[in-house]
Amino acid sequence: MSVPSPAIAHLLSKELSFDQLMDEVPLAMAVLDKDLHVVWLNRAFEALTGFSRSEAYGVPCRHIVRSRTCVEHCPTHKGTISAPTPCESDIINRDRVRLPVKLTLAPLTDPNGTITGYVETIEDLRAVKELDSKKSHAFSFEGIIGRSEKMEKLFQTLPILAQSDASILITGETGTGKDVVAEAIHQTSSRAGGPFIKINCGALPETLLESELFGHAKGAFTGAVESKPGRFRMAHNGTLFLTEVGDLPLPLQVKLLTFLDDQEIYPLGDTRPFRANVRVIAATHRNLSQMVADGTFRQDLLFRLNVARIHLPPLRERKGDIRILLDHFLEIYRKQLGKRITGFSQETLTTLSHYRFTGNVRELRNIVEFAASMATETTISVEDLPAYLMDPPPVAALDAPTTDAPTTAGHPPTPEPSQSRTWATTEREMILEALKDARGKRQQAAERLGWGRSTLWRKMKHYGINT
């Protein structure tokens, strides 16, 4: 028995497909029977939860929605409901991500008023929550903080680019905020009501990446027991963000180029194309022009992605932004840790303003998190900073002449030959030292570092440290 695919008669002169009509609604919707078993759900629901229509058919909705409300206070626990019942909750989707949502369960009745089923809608509240937390920030655009000349130019450009539907290529060193910019563009575009789907092109092997991106048909390969929609399909009417696009294998670059030209995708093993209305934003820290010269990236794809180009400057080229970023992150971690910290000492500010921040904004954020964790007074002093900041001697990075960001080709600055230590090396050494002092006891080591235990194990896993 297949999932019902009813037709709507008498609305227009010709019958309409219910699937097609509901799939155009940007809100996640599901139809349930009176026992709360899933009868049907739309594309937005599939994109939000990760469950396809056929996977969810006939299953109790609590196993598909997986919300806090399902467990703690389902509206129907005390009997049937007579009016739409909204509530704020959270769900865990199939990507194992917890999302803040607003659930509304509304009864469906027959002409006699007898309940025959329910409609459940799920509104994704991620954008709302982020906007709420960032409303008070000056010098910001959708979560991006800065008041330097380069960032002001970026703030002027981003809204214009957001309103167009052109493909965008975002370049910049690691830690400069490419992900944040991509999401900001989506949230200020006309596609903000649609999904924002992200995929890291460097995270999966080629065989899995093709299926993940373009989907596959049932039986396309061994193990393909059912069809899978793919990220392009999930991003329909929204935005697809490809990070590390420089890592995309050449065969998949061809497929991406086909999509950019024809707006059609062919899932693996399927001869029927799917016409996807998707805006593509790509990001990379690599030099794509050099990769084209080396033959590892297609020139025609670079031209197509490069319709609009955003280059995020490294932090050392953003004069005046370090101080505002320090205050911004200090405020976040002060609240998170529940500490009464009022600011940085003058000596600390001098040290930090002369530091090069090769890891850019991400490194600055990590340093502030570490310092806030270590601080025992109301002012962060130099002693609270990570030890590696003290050696080698600080470089007056902000006053030194800086190179302009390239406007047409991605040429990330070459690393300083004298910089023998990276943030990663130093953080790894810190962890090893703390573990050594704590004689291998991770709880104690975490306390010494001012981290939670789960933060320590995550970093140990990242650096391949086993005790």
Binding site: M1, S2, V3, D33, K34, D35, H37, V39, S54, E55, Y57, G58, V59, P60, R62, H63, R66, R68, C70, V71, E72, I91, I92, N93, R94, D95, R96, V97, R98, S454, W457, R458, K461
Partner: protein, 120 residues
Amino acid sequence: MLKKILIPIAADEVACRFDLAGEARIVICLKSGEMEGKTVVLPRAAEKLCHLILMENITCVICGAIEEEYYQFLSWKKITLIDGVAGPWETALNRHLQGALSPGEILCDRSVEGRHVDHP
């Protein structure tokens, strides 16, 4: 190695959320082939449940939805994790013991308006 399996449950089903389960079934597979089981009350907090899993030397967890952070943590601790499972916990356990349980499996009886339906 002694197999010790933990399944967060809600009544007779695998709990749909790892972090919100109120109780768990712990099953020990003895070398003789027999099985022992007990039910424990859970603190309804993922971090505390992870702590319990480590303290009890659990070798395998069969659960519903779990956040990536805890999935990675338990995997890092070399615990076999079969997540996204939905349906009766005993069915899930038996399938796992037969080596036939995969992550994301839906074992519920599918029905619409009281009539059984097959997986499309």
